[in-house]
Amino acid sequence: MKITPGGVVAAEWTKFSSLRSTWITTGISVLLLIVFGTIASASFSGDSLSAVDLALSGSTLAALAVGVLGALLAASEYTTGMIRATLAAVPRRLPVLWSKSLVAGLAALVVMTAGAFAAFALGSAVLNQDVGALGLGDDGVVRALVGAGLYLGLVAVLGVALGMLVRSSAGAIAILAGVLLIVPGLAALLPDAIADAITPYLPSNAGSAVMTLTQGEGTLAPWTGLAVFAGYVVVTLGVAAYRLKKSDA
């Protein structure tokens, strides 16, 4: 009997999968992605958005939902007092954060990648006739769909990091929503010169670059964007790790 990295991951998976809220939040995330994508594909007419962009139009809301999933998983440790049992079992502490991130991130990645492909398939089936149909063989389609899964997986990890950092479900969710939804809107209020310079680098804009087929002016290249978003996640994780290690539980 010994503490092992695999054991800690298995423990975190047990915690993750044994909560009803996990399944509800995951279900809602994937449902938002598919339903919004299908509706947008059927109703949109014009040539500014491609079939893939339409299929993934639920990704903003889905990102919020998977972020909430990660935040709840982490913050509930503190709000329920479970953290004391958790850290008494794993007194080195950091393996808990890595394992939680891994479990939430991988689960979101797998489910949301499948969701993205499902949204694309359904969207293509009902696609408005004014929009050009695309297949998986077309340039950038698979990249955008897989990218959506990767981005949403990273958002779940961001949620975990925020939850461990602020130790409150409401606080973590508020920050998450602020960063993903409100900050881009606020940036638009800045003088144009500044706004144009920073807008592509804002977390949700950078992350979305990987799942947009038609790169507009002022967006980062797909993988650059994802890398920038991953950078935000890594930094947040680092701060969360510092607090977890240094402060009393």
């Binding site: 009997m1 800690v8 329920t80 539980a249």
Partner: protein
């Protein structure tokens, strides 16, 4: 074995644990006693590394807890009842803890059985009563077959049958050679289980003693119309005189004979002069009187 060495913990300006040292030894039940707010829970959190002391250190089985390869095998703790996600079932809660150490599912069932929770193993923890929460916490503490078992207020919320169960369980664990430590703010409860007593007040060690030693702290009850005169008469370096009523004194360090003779020389009438074994509860109250953090107005 738990060794707490010169540990101090401050929260802001408030010192919660103040240069506290004690050792809980294997094969014995150690009672950790003190009024509410004495720093018991904080000390227990520091023992398993949840809180870091400002100075001093704590060893569990001779080494810092965090360095252990199998922490759950070193020490099993119950820190508060219902420390678990209310949406998780009892069995998932224990499984999540067990998997960190590769403890098999069969051991989870075993401790559930031991704690009398088999019937509610698949119920959500949120629906548990305080007593069931305590049982689950104790089951979790025993999961890793630990050398040390440390429980914070384990009998809170338990029914009489549960209290008896905890008592027998803990004596049994100590008899197997394990270190057992439990905290309480009630002497009556601890004296039935523990032989070794650590008594704290306002974060300081008040006594490191045994139940037997504490009970033999004898005293004499005196009832007299002139308590002040008698108090001056019998005072001395090793004598303590406490006023327990308008005409009542409680004296330690003098025998009934000495007090009676002293009173006779000055013609002080005595209505009552009885030798008493201070009850454990009284001994505890006396020790902690000055160290009570939250006291009811008198």
């Amino acid at each position: 074995m738990i060794q707490v060495r010169e540990v101090t913990k401050r929260y802001g300006a408030k010192t919660v644990v103040d240069h506290l040292s004690f050792t809980a030894k294997p094969g014995k039940v150690t009672g950790f006693l003190g009024p509410n707010g004495a720093g018991k829970s904080t000390t227990m959190r520091m023992i398993v590394g949840l809180d870091a002391p400002n100075s001093g250190d704590v060893l569990v089985n001779g080494k810092p807890y965090a360095s252990s390869q199998a922490p759950l095998h070193e020490i099993g703790v119950l820190l508060e009842a219902k420390a678990g996600h209310p949406g998780r079932t009892a069995v998932s809660h224990l499984l999540a803890l067990a998997r960190t150490h590769g403890i098999p599912r069969s051991r989870v069932d075993e401790v559930l059985e031991l704690a009398g929770l088999s019937a509610v193993a698949h119920k959500r923890v949120g629906a548990f009563s305080l007593g069931m929460g305590q049982r689950l916490g104790i089951a979790a503490a025993l999961l890793g077959d630990p050398a040390v078992v440390m429980l914070d207020e384990p009998v809170n919320g338990l029914d009489p049958e549960g209290v008896l169960w905890v008592r027998n369980l803990l004596s049994g664990l100590a008899a197997e050679g394990r270190t057992v430590m439990l905290s309480s703010h009630l002497m009556s409860e601890v004296s039935l289980i523990a032989e070794h007593l650590i008594i704290v007040g306002r974060g300081k060690l008040l006594a490191d003693t045994t139940v037997a030693d504490l009970v033999t702290a004898e005293g004499v009850r005196v009832v007299t119309p002139a308590p002040d005169a008698l108090r001056t008469l019998i005072g001395g370096p090793d004598v303590t005189v406490t006023s327990t009523g308008a005409e009542e004194l409680f004296v330690t360090g003098r025998t009934t004979r000495e007090i009676g003779l002293a009173a006779a020389t000055r013609g002080i009438p005595l209505f009552e002069l009885t030798s008493q074994n201070a009850s454990l509860e009284e001994a505890f109250m006396d020790l902690t009187r000055d160290a009570v953090e939250y006291e009811a107005a008198r």
